[in-house]
Amino acid sequence: MAIVTADHITKIYDGKVAHSAINQLSFEVEQGEFLAIMGPSGSGKTTLLNLLSTIDQPTSGSLTINDQNPQTLSAKQAAIFRREQLGFVFQDFNLLPALTVEENMVLPLTLANQPVEEMKERVDRLIQDLHLEQVRNHFPHELSGGQAQRTAIGRALIHQPQIVLADEPTGNLDSKASKDVLELLTKINRERMTTIVMVTHDPIAASYCDRVLFIKDGEYFNEIYKEDLRQTFFQRILNLLSLLGGNVNDLSTVRLS
């Protein structure tokens, strides 16, 4: 069953020259799928994610997310929709600097005015799952990149959203921290059947997904499914990326662990 359906969506930015960042794009995301979106810089990935997150509206075309059409929602309804059904992970973590790890994580629940007992229970469990016990009361500036991103993931998951949207979640992490984060996302995807849409530049990160959607200049370019081993999936991603025009020679010898 498709949880996201995009039907010929177009996003035009008005400026001195009107510029279409997304052009007649159609695709679906299945319930429980882990989807990667790839494409060259400026191809419209972040724009697409903003449309999915109801922060922005498509100029034309129709978009359905979890049986809702964001275009028909009022600003307030959209906010509540985001609050209940979506979770976000950003490239630069975007933790609130004034809140501790624990507080950053419970933030979405406090917005929904959950009982404090319930909040404590959930945050305790998540902190264990994310191995953040030691830094529980630290402030964001006292965290390593990996810890910060795990905190951000915790924040995206605590209210058990239907869909998690991630924009280059590993973009600022080294390979070890990236691996932790990706395995974490995979685990969540498996265990909770949470749908994840992740924008990434990193073919290794993409190889963790079930499917990779390639876009170019805001248009559909291609898509591939993981059918076999991750290593072969990775190679196929690299091939497609070189078709897209990226320079991937330096990566083609990488062996995945």
Binding site: S53, R82, L96, A98, L99, L107, T110, N113
Partner: protein, 640 residues
């Protein structure tokens, strides 16, 4: 791109950051210039007014310069701190120290020179208006706008020196910090994030002592407490922002039931962060605002004193002549001709005052006649009295319960009861010797024998009361008499007459005070602008961070309405915390001031003080709304 261009562009592109600082400094230049215009005014003829104008303006100018120096120094160090990251990058790119210093020096000078020019320009424009106000206040005939180089030169020289000094100071700040320190920039301040419990309790204690002492002084005035109170209040405020307020919020945060509730978690933590980072600035803003409010309050209370002075001296011109005064006729002639020259209408009322001896004390007492008093009272529109024979009233003083007395005049064996005082208008005590009483006409007629220790000639004093409806214009009446009076005080010699012209005194008092008021108001305006500029600056440097934070919250599903609520609450502590404390300080200072005034003149300044506090609240509210409007626009919270 030359170096100078680079510096110039830095200033222009950072203009939003510098806006409030620029405004405050050019306003300071403007006020300084306007004062200097009065200081050098060539055509104030009145000697006295020229002196007070000169003194007042000179003092205000000095205060302004000193304050501006500190203001600029503090602002500059804050700016450099905010831009430290930028400087670090520049140095990493290979800019050397001396270049960086030059950059800072040039940038500061550019700002300074432009502020100077702007200030003088607007100063000259507003001088006309200022002169009009001053002219009305000092009741001068003319106070023309003039052009002469002195004020321009003075302002230019003083402020150029000032800007050079702080530009040099700025480049010294820079020299003292290492690249790595610059690059890490503001994160440094977080390391000192912890507050001390001792400091918190110290702050509460100090504030309690300061306020407690003020309250104590209401019962038992002692001016020597004031340095203690001021020191306690200053130290208390400092620790309050450094530790006290953090402690309070921390207490709240411990309670998760309270703290983990919808938006509170965001607003509280944000408040803590902002307070931690800006404790010193909040402290300074509090002190500066308090100073501004108090200075306006003090001068406002002086005007209240001037009004009260008039009320307690309702007789426009008073001449008291002892019997046998050889100048009496010539003086009265002179006064009437003065009135004539000034084109003033007047009513002359005379009242004889007779000296007798009280049998009980064997000391002289002065006696007035009921009808004479009533005639004066009628002209002054005061209530009339009706005394029966055997009744008397104590003139100019109240008679408390238990102080009633029966007075026996020895010379004529007249008895009268005194159980009430007469206080509708006073006559100067200096004019008589001994206490004065009002007798009924019947009793007064019975005084036939003169004062025991003299003859008739030495027992009667005559009061000449001139009532002038247009009393404000009597300031040129009896100037020679006034001078003689002053000379006699100074030479300690007895005169056979007494002269008092409250209109003249009032014109001195009120012009001094009005001048003080205008001066105080403008200086306070500079202070308030400076305080506002600190807040604006901090607000502006945090803007980018706040914008990103709001982006996250928006993603997280906060409605615009909720975001607005958060934004609003983020502004509160910055505005209302220093402000609230300043208001509290000012209120207590006014209580103290009231106590002082009660001691001096039995006068209430409540009304004036309420107006001052109210006015400052309005200013602050307007400023808050203005900033909020800009803030919302920046965070794009107005739409939707």
């Amino acid at each position: 791109m030359t170096f100078l261009q680079f510096a110039y562009r830095n200033v222009i592109r950072n203009r939003r950051v510098y806006a409030a600082y620029f405004m405050a400094s050019s306003f300071s230049v403007m006020v300084f210039f306007i004062y200097s215009m009065l200081l050098f005014h060539p055509s104030i003829e009145n000697q006295f007014i020229q002196e007070i104008a000169f003194m007042g303006m000179a003092v205000a100018d000095v205060v302004l310069v000193i304050f501006t120096l500190f203001f600029l120094l503090y602002s500059l160090s804050a700016f450099l701190q905010a831009r430290s990251k930028e400087f670090g990058i520049l140095q990493q790119l290979g800019m050397d120290r001396s270049q960086l210093q030059r950059l800072v020096f040039i940038e500061t000078m550019i700002l300074g020179v432009v502020a100077l020019a702007t200030g003088i320009f607007f100063g000259y424009i507003f001088t006309k208006l200022f002169f009009m106000v001053i002219r009305a206040m000092l009741v001068l005939d003319t106070l023309p706008l003039y052009f002469s180089p002195e004020p321009f030169l003075l302002t230019a020289v003083v402020f150029t020196t000032l800007f050079i000094v702080i530009s040099i100071a700025g480049s010294i700040f820079i020299r003292q910090s290492a690249i790595i320190q610059l690059l890490s920039g503001s994160t440094q301040s977080r390391e000192t994030a912890h507050f001390s419990k001792v400091g918190a309790f110290l702050s509460f204690g100090l504030l309690a002592v300061a306020y407690g002492l003020v309250l104590y002084c209401l019962y038992e005035m002692n001016v020597w407490w004031s340095p203690v109170i001021i020191l306690c209040a200053i130290a208390g405020s400092y620790y309050f922002f450094k530790d006290g307020i953090l402690y309070l919020i921390h207490k709240l945060q411990r309670n998760k039931q309270l703290y983990w509730r919808s938006l509170r978690i965001v607003t509280f933590s944000d408040a803590i962060e902002k307070i931690r980072e800006n404790a010193r600035m909040y402290f300074i803003v509090t002190m500066v605002s308090t100073l501004a409010i108090i200075s306006v309050g003090v001068v406002a209370s002086l005007t209240s004193f001037a009004n009260q002075y008039r009320e307690s001296n309702p007789i426009s011109v008073l001449y008291v002549s002892e019997s046998g005064n050889p100048y009496e006729a010539s003086h009265i002639d002179q006064l009437t001709s003065d009135f004539y020259k000034e084109n003033l209408t007047y009513t002359l009322l005379t009242a004889p005052v007779t000296k007798q001896t009280s049998a009980a004390t064997n000391r002289p007492v002065q006696l007035l006649r009921e009808t004479d008093i009533n005639t004066i009272a009628a002209v002054l529109k005061e209530p009339l009295i009706d005394l029966e024979p055997g009744e008397g009233m104590r003139f100019g003083q109240e008679v408390r319960d238990g102080q009633e007395q029966l007075i026996h005049l020895r010379e004529n064996t007249i008895y009268f009861h005194v159980d009430e005082g007469y206080q509708y208008f006073p006559l100067p005590e200096a004019a008589f010797d001994g206490p004065a009483y009002i007798l009924s006409d019947e009793d007064f007629e019975r005084i036939v024998n003169p004062y025991l220790y003299g003859d008739w000639a030495s027992s009667v004093t005559t009061v000449f009361a001139f009532h002038v409806p247009d009393w404000l214009r009597t300031d040129k009446v009896g100037l020679t008499l006034d001078r003689e009076m002053i000379a006699s005080y100074e030479g300690n010699q007895e005169l056979p007459f007494y002269f008092d012209n409250p209109g003249l005194n009032y014109s001195y008092i009120s012009s001094t005070f009005s001048l003080l008021l205008v001066t105080g108001l403008l200086v306070a305006a500079v202070l308030i602008l400076a305080a506002g500029s600190f807040i604006y600056f901090k607000f502006y440097t945090n803007l980018e961070k706040d914008r990103r934070q709001f982006e996250v919250l928006r993603h997280m599903g906060l409605t615009n309405q909720e975001l607005r609520r958060i934004a609003n609450r983020q502004l509160y502590p910055q505005f209302f915390l220093p402000w609230g404390l300043a208001m509290l300080h000012a209120t207590f200072s006014f209580l103290f001031l009231q106590a002082v005034w009660v001691d001096i003149a039995a006068m209430s300044i409540a009304m004036e003080m309420l107006i001052v506090l109210g006015a400052f609240t309005c200013i602050q509210a307007v400023y808050y709304l203005l900033i909020r409007w800009r803030y919302f626009a920046h965070l794009q919270l107005h739409t939707g």
